[in-house]
Each structure stands twice: as structure tokens, then as C-alpha cells.
């Protein structure tokens, strides 16, 4: 059922109308670059019959209209795209800042996270804000960016049972990832802070504040500054 193809790329049917393209099994920047390149090509030169694209850490799920395409046809077309991958001129990711009010009401899990790692809350904040993260992909809900990689020393398991709702803008960590909840949704990541930025806004030209490939820094702000920015 699994097929090998050139340069470690692997195709895998994910259902009767979707195909996974794997660029390896590990989260690496190289795999991420290749995901972005293929996504870029597929967006610029859409394949007739393809209905949706869902990039992930090291794969893209391609959903298609089964009346117009089947797996083998799609794989054959994709091989042509994959051959051109190295020649893709990928647009540079942007440098983005996410002002974040850490701890207190904004970050109810900050103290627990600190305790789990034998740190002070201040050290957790410093460490979380010290790294430039990459937007590996968006998913879960509109505008939710999967950011990596969290410093090893902060890697934290999810909550035992997810919250039924999280305030929009909640900055959270899980495993070696970090992210911002754009909407009030259920969530099991540990919330360490909150940003006043609207991560997804349907009336804005770029609906999502972050895009795949962006480089992201979190900058600590005070509760007063949070209130100011939120009301701006």
C-alpha cells in the first residue's frame, strides 16, 4: 500500500479521495521547506480536480474529486511537480511580532509550567520570548499557526483534560510547539499568556495574521499595555 518515490518522498492514500505526500517522518526545517515549495507550486499551478490542500509538519494532504482524478493519476502529476521543487523561488517568510501579556489571568497555566520545569515564571517567559519560531503550517481553526520549535527545556505535555473554551488570543504551549488560539475554542494546550492581536479576521485582506513560513517572536507586554492594544 505504501509507495516509495524519488528523494524520500512517499505517497500514501489517506482515503478514497485524498492522498498524503510525505517528505519524511520527522519535523525538520528541510521537510518544512519542501512542504512549502510543493504547496506554493500547487497554489500557483492548481491541478484540475484537486479540492483542498492541508499542509502539516512534513506532509501535505491533497483532497480531490474522485470523479475527476484517482490516486495513481494524481501521483503521476505530482511527480512532475516534485521534480521542479528545487527550482521553486519561495517567497521569504515575514518577521512578525506577537505582543504577549504573560501569566496572571492572561496565562493561567504559567505557574504550573514553571513548576513542572523547576523554573520561575519569569524564566519561562524569558525562554519563550527568546526564540524566533517558524510557522510550520496553519490548521485546527482559521488562523491557528503551529509554531516551532519550542526550546527543549519548555517542552510540556498537554493538559490531562482539555479546557472547554480558551479566550481568543491565548498563547499556549504543547509538546515542542507553541501557538495562539484565534477563537474561543476547546483546547488542551497550556496557556501561558495572551495577545491582543486578532489572529484571524474575515474582514481583513490577509485574514490570518500569520502565514506559513513566517518567523515569529513573542514580546512580553504588561497588562496595561494589553488593555491599551486591545482597545486600539
Amino acid at each position: 500500500m505504501q509507495k516509495s518515490t524519488t528523494d524520500g518522498v512517499r505517497f500514501q492514500p489517506a482515503s478514497d479521495q485524498s492522498l498524503l505526500v510525505y517528505f519524511g517522518e520527522q519535523i525538520t526545517l528541510r521537510a518544512h521547506q519542501r512542504v512549502r515549495r510543493l504547496l506554493h507550486l500547487l497554489e500557483r499551478e492548481p491541478i484540475i480536480g484537486v479540492r483542498n490542500l492541508n499542509p502539516a509538519y512534513c506532509s501535505i494532504l491533497i483532497s480531490f474529486d474522485a470523479l475527476r482524478l484517482h490516486h495513481a493519476e494524481l501521483e503521476a502529476i505530482l511527480l512532475g511537480y516534485l521534480e521542479r521543487l528545487d527550482a521553486v523561488d519561495l517567497p521569504e517568510g515575514r518577521d512578525m511580532q506577537v505582543p504577549t501579556c504573560y501569566g496572571g489571568e492572561s496565562g493561567p497555566d504559567l505557574n504550573d509550567v514553571a513548576a513542572l520545569h523547576g523554573m520561575t515564571p519569569g524564566q519561562v517567559i524569558e525562554l519563550h520570548a527568546s526564540v524566533t519560531y517558524t510557522v510550520f503550517f496553519l490548521g485546527f481553526v482559521p488562523g491557528f499557526a503551529y509554531l516551532g520549535e519550542l526550546p527543549e527545556a519548555l517542552a510540556t505535555p498537554r493538559l490531562d483534560s482539555p479546557r472547554l473554551t480558551t479566550p481568543p488570543g491565548s498563547v499556549a504551549i504543547a509538546g515542542n510547539q507553541t501557538g495562539v488560539y484565534p477563537f474561543a475554542t476547546p483546547g488542551g494546550w497550556r496557556i501561558i499568556g495572551r495577545t491582543p492581536i486578532a489572529m484571524f479576521c474575515p474582514d481583513r485582506k490577509a485574514m490570518s495574521f500569520l502565514s506559513i513560513g513566517d518567523r515569529v517572536r513573542f514580546t512580553p507586554i504588561s497588562a496595561a499595555r494589553f488593555a491599551e492594544l486591545e482597545n486600539a
Binding site: Y57, L61, L138, P202, S208
Partner: protein, 291 residues
């Protein structure tokens, strides 16, 4: 412009079309009718294009007044509909005269019933679709299920009324729902052969925790499936009386229209995209033995 006045909304009535495809890269899931075939048939019956927006009702239907009248059709499951207290057949176009009321009750068969109107429901589109995404409040009628007192607009149409029905044999063919067909997904080999055998041999009930994002199917198995994984990778964790963690929670979990792609993402162990195109989910508490 013609309207629908919502006198009673029902349990979960939302505006849906065939969804917004193509926005996966910004994290926007397709949404759309959970039972797209019924919506498409309903639209055909009233002379719309198949992807026009209609009302999707779940388990308990609403009461709707048509002050200016409308040409309508009900498809999907039988919610015991009446037009001004006269029984209304499924799968037949009918003219509601100005001021008439369509009242639906609790389901007598499946989970979902669709009300399509000639012209289609008119809402401000989000990413080219009228579908409601409840979790984020995007799309549809103000991003939410309908409430008592809402006034929903109908897109104008000049087409005269034509009576159309679906042949009983076709309805019967489409209503078979007892067997879910499954294709092995990318992590099917995480499970032992005997586990997969019991997966395919079991009969399931649609669990209470089902929603538009996914169905939770429960079996009588005492133990979950053996994954053969020592490290307890969370998405493969074995749960008590449901079969296994197939997506993120307990139980085999066919994904429906609202599903999102999350986490390590793209982990669909056993997939049945095609099944949701058949007839929509069974109501909670009915059996659906896979084979």
C-alpha cells in the same frame, strides 16, 4: 425579497451549502452539509443549482413561516413535517403560499433533514460559501444556528413552480445506511491484525458526543484496539468501552463537515470520506455495523 420567519429553530438548524473548499492552507475547514447528497437533491427538486444554500436541521426540526410564500422541498430524514397542519412528503417540491407555515418535529429516521427553497437561502458569503462554521462563528446566518425570531432571506427567483419528486426506488437506494465502508488509512498498520479484525467485525452505536465535527461510534468491546505502541502516543491511546482513539478522541470517528485538521495532522487511520456522501449520519443511538 422573500423571507423565512423562524418561529421555532429546532435543535440545531444552520445554513449550509456544499462548503468552502480550498482554504486548508489558512486553516479554514470546508464546513457544508453533513449529508451533501440530501442537500443536492433538495436543490434539484426546487430548481436550484446543487450547491445553493439550504437549512440543515438535526434530530428536531423547526417551525418556519413563509410570509411571501416560497417553493420548498424537504430531503434527508423524516421529521414528520406539515404544511399548515397537512402532512408534507419528503423529496417532493411543494409551494408554500404566502403566510403558510412548515412545522417539523423530532426525527422518525435519520439525524438530518434539509429544507431547500427555490432561489436558495441568502446570507453574506464567507470565502465564497454560505456554510455556517459554528465553532468559530464564521459564515452562515450570523455565524450561528438559527434562533426564534430570526428572519432569513431567500434569494429571488423567477422560475415558475414545477412539481418534482424523487422516485421511491432512488430514495430507497440512497437510504441504506447500515454499513460503513472503510479504506485503510496511513496508520492502519499501527494496529494488530486481530484488532483490525474485531474493528471490522463489530457493530457500533452512534454516541452522544457526536457533532458536526465527527461521529463517535461506540462498540460493546470491553477493551479498545491494541495498537502495539508502548509509548502511548496520545492519538493512538486505547479508551475504555469505545474502540480506539481514531482521530483525537475515543471511538472510531468518521469525520463530518466541520472537521478540522489538527496537531500532527493528517493522521487518519481509517477513512471513509465517501460514506458521508451517502446519506448523512444515523441518529444517535442507532446501529451502524461496518463490514
Amino acid at each position: 425579497m422573500s423571507t423565512i420567519q423562524v418561529q421555532a429553530p429546532g435543535l440545531l438548524t444552520t445554513v449550509q451549502d456544499l462548503g468552502r473548499q480550498g482554504f486548508g492552507p489558512v486553516g479554514v475547514s470546508p464546513s457544508g452539509a453533513a449529508d451533501p447528497i440530501s442537500l443536492r437533491l433538495g436543490n434539484r427538486l426546487v430548481g436550484n443549482h446543487e450547491g445553493a444554500a439550504g437549512l440543515e436541521m438535526m434530530l428536531l426540526g423547526g417551525t418556519f413561516i413563509f410570509p411571501q410564500g416560497a417553493i420548498v422541498a424537504l430531503t434527508g430524514s423524516d421529521f414528520g413535517a406539515t404544511l399548515d397542519d397537512v402532512s408534507l412528503n419528503l423529496s417532493t417540491s411543494v409551494e408554500a403560499r404566502p403566510g403558510q407555515t412548515i412545522r417539523l418535529g423530532p426525527t422518525k429516521s435519520g439525524a438530518r433533514c434539509y429544507l431547500c427553497v427555490q432561489g436558495g437561502i441568502s446570507v453574506k458569503p464567507f470565502l465564497r460559501s454560505a456554510s455556517t462554521h459554528i465553532l468559530t462563528g464564521l459564515g452562515g446566518f450570523e455565524g450561528r444556528p438559527l434562533q426564534k425570531g430570526d428572519v432569513v432571506r431567500i434569494e429571488s427567483s423567477t422560475e415558475p413552480f414545477r412539481r418534482r419528486t424523487i422516485a421511491p426506488a432512488i430514495s430507497e437506494h440512497l437510504s441504506r445506511r447500515k454499513v460503513l465502508r472503510v479504506t485503510a488509512g496511513p496508520q492502519a498498520d499501527w494496529f494488530s491484525e486481530s484488532s483490525l479484525r474485531s474493528f471490522y467485525a463489530s457493530t457500533y452505536r452512534v454516541g452522544e458526543q457526536s457533532n458536526r465535527m465527527g461521529l463517535r461510534l461506540e462498540s460493546g468491546l470491553e477493551r479498545g484496539l491494541e495498537t502495539g505502541l508502548e509509548d502511548g502516543r496520545e492519538r493512538a491511546a486505547v479508551s475504555q468501552r469505545s474502540v480506539s482513539h481514531m482521530i483525537t478522541e475515543g471511538g472510531p470517528h468518521p469525520r463530518l463537515a466541520h472537521h478540522s485538521f489538527c496537531g500532527a495532522a493528517n493522521h487518519r487511520r481509517l477513512s471513509q470520506d465517501r460514506e458521508r456522501n451517502l446519506r448523512g449520519p444515523s441518529p444517535r443511538g442507532t446501529t451502524s455495523p461496518p463490514r
